[in-house]
Symmetry: C2
Subunit: 107 residues, 2 copies
């Protein structure tokens, strides 16, 4: 239900956008032009995706003259990690309960 998770999932669901984020994680700060060169889509589309990534908190931008440098903000992935941990936790609890039940049945 938490809205931050929703934003993250929706933002990372698009392959082009996720690829951009991955490149920024792998290769560090890059300009829009550099990203566009290998993105497979036009520059305006890249800018749009970067804008969405920025809104989601997944990237930062830094202006230097007429070019804009983008970099990954890895901390923004925390809610996603938390979510998976939470799901795993629920599963674990239910598994423990089952284990307890089986133990009690065993006696």
């Amino acid at each position: 239900m938490s809205d931050t998770q929703d934003v993250l999932f929706r933002t990372l669901a698009d392959p082009t956008r996720r690829a951009l984020f991955e490149r920024l994680c792998r290769e560090g700060e890059k300009t829009v032009g550099a990203l566009t060169a290998r993105a497979g889509v036009s520059q305006p589309v890249v800018s749009k995706h970067l804008g969405i990534l920025k809104q989601a908190g997944l990237v930062r931008d830094r202006h230097e003259g007429r070019q804009t440098h983008y970099s990954a903000q890895l901390g923004a992935l925390a809610p996603l990690v938390d979510w998976t941990r939470e799901m795993a936790g629920f599963w674990q609890n239910r598994f423990d309960q089952l284990e307890d039940l089986l133990k009690r049945m065993d006696q």
Copy 2:
């Protein structure tokens, strides 16, 4: 680029679908009827979402008479966990490189 991650992100991007998966994680196995009762959408929609979750490997179904029981398959989240770890790893490496660079500059 790995396609399994793509399927997971796309599947979990929808709030209704993610809510269904969350309920199955929290509360364990449930019938379609039970899920529909609190899903806020119609039964056919729930069935459709469950079908998509099943295709993604996130849930299993078990038929019992005229009702179908669904349960979460938590292992299917592994690629997602791997992906976040990978992204974190890239970031860490680049941070280490920066650290090294700063150390060398310091001498």
